[in-house]
């Protein structure tokens, strides 16, 4: 075989090589001391006449250099790829420690963002509250069933633990003039037997808008918007008549949550009763308002499929770290 053929053969061989062992075999094949193809040519060199010797000699040197460099280069490529630095990628990772937010924070955060687009501000108010704001200013008279000792926690005759975030409505209106767009997230308290869906305290979010020309259609529009933002764009609402002393008309809303294919009752709403507006120092002849109240715990339980409200207040990390 002449040098040109050996060279061609070499590069063809090199293509097929994928391991260091194969590379070593090739080196032996071409440069082995006794049988190497290049070695053999080199061995024949002394037998040639002077002119031939010079020609073949220089060609031999060039090709030898080229082939040896190719072998080196292949060797370094194969070295890094094959086994010296390989690792078991299934080995447990070293995780940076990650904290978690509470599901109710997540729900309130989502609602906050949704209503941010509509220009609503967010404020939290007192939990130990005056009977005045929690009941009287909302047209809940002293004889109303909601005032029962059975249902409300009292500190004394005038102070109680607020039973709903609606206590913020008149508080806020007293110090703010329309246009009003505000939401009140916060803790509320009900005196109830404790079970999977009842605890002494839980979270509500109240919404309030007061302006000229606000009407029922706006309330329904906002509720529609809310349902779609929180429960997905395939969500729907169903509105039905109800009764609250502080709204007229009063409604309750069910939301169809496509993920669980169910209707869930999540909020009460209505047009702010003119007397309540008056109590807040706002002229009901000039302004109208709507208000709604929803249970944040309930929404979190629906969205995340949580079955027991007690988990939300347990501080149990096995629960908390799922969020």
């Amino acid at each position: 075989m002449n040098l040109k053929q050996i060279r061609k053969q070499f590069f063809s061989d090199l293509q097929k090589i994928s391991t260091l062992e194969q590379l070593e075999e090739a080196r032996v094949k071409y440069f082995g001391r006794k049988q190497g193809l290049i070695t053999k040519v080199a061995d024949e060199l002394p037998k040639l006449r002077l002119e031939e010797k010079r020609k073949v000699g220089s060609e031999l040197n060039e090709i030898k250099k080229e082939l040896l460099e190719a072998l080196e280069s292949s060797k370094s490529t194969l070295s890094t790829k094959s086994g010296e630095e390989s690792i078991d990628i299934t080995y447990p990772s070293i995780k940076p420690s990650l904290g978690h937010l509470h599901p109710i924070t997540l729900v309130i955060g989502e609602i906050k963002e949704a209503f941010h687009y509509l220009g609503f501000s967010f404020i939290d108010g007192p939990e130990a509250e005056l009977d005045l704001y929690n009941f009287q200013q909302l047209r809940i008279s002293k004889d109303h069933p909601a005032r029962d000792l059975q249902q409300t926690y009292y500190l004394n005759e005038n102070l109680l633990l607020r039973t709903h975030t609606s206590s913020m409505q008149v508080r806020f209106m007293e110090t703010h003039k329309p246009p009003i767009r505000v939401m009140f997230p916060g803790r509320v308290y009900r005196r109830d037997q404790i079970d999977a869906t009842h605890l002494p305290s839980f979270y509500q979010i109240e919404g309030l808008q007061v302006d000229e020309n606000i009407n029922m259609s706006n309330l329904i529009g906002v509720l529609n918007y809310f349902a779609k933002r929180i429960f997905g764009k395939e969500a729907k609402i169903r509105v039905y008549g109800h009764h609250f002393p502080y709204t007229e008309p009063s409604v309750e809303i069910e939301v169809y949550y496509p993920k669980i294919k169910k209707w869930v009752e999540i909020l009460g709403a209505g047009m702010v009763h003119p007397e309540v507006l008056k109590n807040g120092g706002i002229d009901p002849k000039k302004y109208r308002g709507w208000a709604f109240g929803m249970g944040a715990d309930r929404i979190a339980m629906i969205k995340y499929g949580i079955d027991d409200i007690r988990l939300l207040y347990s501080g149990d990390l096995r629960f908390g770290e799922q969020f």
Binding site: A128, M216, S217, Y240, P249
Partner: protein, 664 residues
Amino acid sequence: MRVPISWLKEYIRFSLDADKLAEVLLLSGTKVEKVLKNKDEIILDLEITPNRPDTLSMIGVAREVSAVTKKELIEPNIKELPKNFKSLPVDLKIQEKKLCPNYSLVAISEIKVGKSPSWIKERLENAGIRSINNVVDITNYVMLEMGQPMHAFDYNKIKGGLTLRSAKKSERVITLDTVARTLPEGAIIIEDEEKLVDLAGLMGGANSEVDESTSTILLHVPVYDPVVIRKTSLVLGLRTEASGRFEKNLDLSIHETALKRASNLILETAGGEIASEVISVNLKTEERITLELNIEKVREFLGIDIGLGEVSNILTSLGFQIKTRAGEFDVLEVTAPNWRRDIGIVEDLYEEIGRIYGYNNIPGILPVGEVPVAEESSLINLEFRIKDILKSLGFTECYLSTLTSKKIMDASLVNEEDALKISNPMSVEFEYLRRHLLGGLLVAAELNLREYQEISLFELGRVFKTEIKNGIPLQPKKLTLVTTKSFFELKGVLESLFTELGIDSLKLIEGDFTVLTSGTAAEVLVKETKVGKIGSVEKRVLDAFGIKKPVSMLNLKFETLAKFATDEKVYKSLPKFPYVEEDFSLLVSKETKMEAILSSFKVDPKIERAEVFDTFSDKSMQDKKSIGVRVRYQAKDHTLSPEEISQLREKITSSLTSLKATLR
């Protein structure tokens, strides 16, 4: 209230199935809690709101269905009573007119008390009321039919005239259910010359009950003071179908009609004859309210395009009287029926129209208008910001109970006098309002340490003080972190948090605080303002909570922190000239504080930083420790010359002598 559908159909012909009927009622404001079945009968269990006692009756519910389905309401045919030939004395004296301002009374004699006909029995039982005998059953039947409760006394068991009055303290009566009751002062009772015969509005007395031996009855159809009935009901813990109606604002004027209806049915089923004049008293009347309704305003309020005709139809089907006004085509004069004492303002009419028209037919339109620029969100925004930062620092958020127990307060060293107490708690576990967040967090910590080796928890929530301001207790929001991480790691979290909040000038000053171990606690300050505390939790507290690992705590006052937090960022230009670093190795006494050492190094602005990179001490050093400090020399406006660096080094060295530090 339970409504058997076949009974309902007596007052309205409709062809809806039970589910559709339930839906129709729900949408118009009457919630169906359950759909029950009893043999062939389907019964709807309705939730009636306190403002609509008129729907605590079959006719009331039928009227609702009639308004929505537009089918005609069929009212029962109430015949005039036959003339009475006898005139038995019928005498009811009312001592305080307010207690029973309106009523009707009649005696019926020669009756045969026995089993009720099956149609009455079935209807009552499907509606959830037990059948007793024909007379008692008819009083219950008319109560359910018309919403007007009433009571029948056995005339012959009554001695002399009857008096209705307020009970005095500790009077007693045995009611129909054979329970002996001691009555609260103020309860409404009826007595004859000898004894109490009726716990009015709640339950009749056993001594005057109608049974098989009864031949003459006294039928009493009253309107009672709703507030007194409700109070009595609550105190006695006794709620009946009758009291549930009497405690609400019933129609003041149907008692006479109800008496006629009941009497007719009694005469039909038990025989007998009217044995007295019908006495009817109407001391309390309310003028039926008339409101001016403007159709344009209805459209505007509800956001719908509804015609005057439709509005008129809806209101008429609900029993309202409509009058038009000559020349004013948009206006109706609407008078509320007697049974709708909840109607007072024009918005009440908008509600009637809206709910029958169907709220789901109102298009939803987002409100337009000026968006207020609200600054108040800043506190809640800051809450969210802080929570996100703590999450990224590896802490998990908890929401814990704001109500706590003496046990937890004792364990966490809170004095009972410092905490607000609930006056009507449900249990001792939730008797006080928490004075700090630590108690709850330590309970959570103990729980989690059963499963986890390391825990890092936080809560941002209200605590409650006994101090009153503007009428309510002070209830500031606090941020508390507990962790099994070391004090210095927690200190690192505090510094990172403050950096993220844009708060510089954080300072820690050693202090002695309840709950924190002496010598491991500090006050946290920002610009001389106290902002919180940090330290290791005392062992006796950890023991009280059953926690076996050391726990560090950081407590911050949220509203105070808010004054300093900012999201303004100011860029500082990058250094243009090179720095030189040099290490110092010092030997100082063990008590020397790191802060003092480092401030000894910062004797010139060109000493850009001084950081401890090593500390070491062992027995051979006795009362000293070895500190390695790396110093960076850098000027903002030029490269420092070796002479300048030498001078700076001199400054440091002489400053260090005041610390009694030896350079090695």
